[in-house]
Amino acid sequence: MIQRGGLEIPTDQPALDVEGLTVTYGQEPALWNADLRLSRGSLAAIVGPNGAGKSTLLKAALGVVPRVSGRVRVLGEDPARRRRLVAYVPQRTSVDWDFPTSVLDVVLMGTYGQLGWFRRPGRKERALALQALEQMEMADLAGRQIAELSGGQQQRVFLARALVQDAEVYFMDEPFAGVDAVTEQSIASLMGLLAHQGKTILSVHHDLATVPRYFEHAVLLNRVVQAVGTVKEVFHRSNLDRLYGGRVPANVPEFASS
């Protein structure tokens, strides 16, 4: 058992347990009978072609898209009852960065879940937000308008917001997309650090070449879960050829040889 803000979390429960999950948008199935189990401390990438349902899988795990059938458990409970233990990093491009707000304000949004309705973030929340910005090496930009940020800085702001949530499970949607090499490195080391602390990370990832470097587990997804396991077990050319229909770029490292 670990204690978190009045909640007792059984440590023997998997971080994420998905059984027979089907999600549809209109008539198109986005996810079909997906099964997936991640133990605590997993550092997992979801890979798969466009339209494979990668973001949908995250949103179903967050409990924000309705499921047609199947079951989702986060740390042994329905996602709706685990919100305080879950952090979400949406796709950076999913929001309007010209929104009139500051870096610190966006990071403070990570405290809204704990604050509840009507309460405003105060000094304590500000300190937490600044600390998270510090960790993302963004503290000196706390007062900056978000419209003035580079892509890498935007991603750091989103990650700082997730850090403020102080979660056990982190769902990230393409955190490496369109960021510079330095940011990529610091995101990777942040993920490693979180996983080392026993946190669980499930992240949509597009760059096949870096999967073995940044992740320990891989979920191969194309509407159905084709394979789940450690990168060594499942991230093979034959699996990837099947996943992408035989059009895998040549720069994916071969695992048989490593």
Partner: protein, 310 residues
């Protein structure tokens, strides 16, 4: 020369207080519509309100025997029609392949067309329904007809909207900026969406008497767009938009009172537009002039000294 506001008559005080409140409330509420790119939604609500206003007028005549043009009767009609148009548009776009903009446009046409049709029908009744001649003022507004009871209605509805906006501020903010993230926090997106619509509808219906259903959208969006030019803080933006809206409302009431024949609604909207135009030109960072100057400054900077990596 005496200032025109020294000897204000009580009617003008009521009208000016009403238009100022309407401007302030719709300015503040309009910020969220602007940031969510829901200008069209506001337009649908206001145009559809015409149908509700005319139906409420006819019903009040049928039920009480004397038709009423007071806001107490017409506001519920406008609320119902505006909300119905939005809900129908929503259900059409989720159930058919029509996209949201198209279904909003269809509902606007149906409700506004229906409103115009019914308006003409009411005006041709014989014997004529007393008070029917004032009904078409709802097209372009007739602030001068505002009564003390109307003013209380505006205060009550506008006050409620502002209180709700203040209480749910951080939830509305995160929902507007990042809806997926706010859902992941467990915030009920349907409730927030409905709340946002309700605020918009409230802002629209209290304003249609002043500026009319056709121009109401200008009073929602223009102060917000002007305020956005000057600030990058949401709270400052809402306050500034409220100030711009209030100034337009007050200015419109006073100008049209001092110069015979000036229609209040269009003057209010033109004042808001003037503030917007000035903001577009003069704002310190986002303004057209500031940006041109910044570009020129950049061009005059000598290129980095030779030997640099670039």
């Amino acid at each position: 020369m005496s200032a025109p506001w020294v000897d204000l008559d009580p009617t003008l005080v009521v009208v000016a207080a009403g238009t100022t409140t309407v401007g302030a409330v719709s300015g503040a509420l309009g910020c969220f519509a602007y940031l969510r790119r829901q200008g069209l939604v506001g337009d649908v609500v206001s145009h559809s309100a015409l149908l509700g206003v005319v139906v409420a007028f006819v019903l009040s005549h049928a039920i009480t025997g004397s038709a009423s043009r007071s806001l107490m009767v017409l506001v519920p009609g406008a609320l119902i029609a505006g909300t119905a148009a939005l809900m129908l548009a929503r259900s059409v776009s989720t159930r058919t392949r029509l996209n949201e903009d198209a279904s909003l446009g269809v509902m606007l046409s149906i409700f506004f067309g229906g409103g115009l049709f019914l308006l003409r029908w009411v005006q041709r009744q014989s014997p004529p329904i007393p008070g029917h001649t004032g009904l078409e003022d709802y097209l372009f507004g007739m602030a001068a007809a505002m009564t003390r009871a109307d003013l209380w209605m505006i205060f009550a509805l506008g006050g409620c909207a502002v209180v709700v906006l203040f209480l749910a501020w951080k939830e509305l903010k995160v929902f507007t900026f990042d809806p997926d993230f706010s859902r992941s926090l467990g915030l009920p997106s349907r409730v927030l969406d409905t709340l946002m619509m309700a605020l918009l509808v409230a802002g629209v219906v209290i304003g249609i008497q002043t500026v009319g259903v056709i121009l109401m959208i200008a009073l929602l969006v223009t102060p917000a767009a002007a305020a956005r030019q000057w600030t990058s803080r949401l709270s400052t933006m809402a306050l500034l938009a409220a100030v711009f809206g209030a100034a337009s409302g007050a200015g419109g009431a006073l100008l049209s009172a001092s110069e015979a024949g000036l229609p209040t609604g269009p003057v209010v909207v033109l004042l808001a537009t003037a503030i917007f135009a000035l903001s577009l030109l003069l704002a310190p960072q986002r303004g057209v002039i500031a940006r041109a100057r910044a570009r020129r400054a950049l061009r005059d900077v000598p290129p980095p000294a030779a030997g640099g990596a670039s």
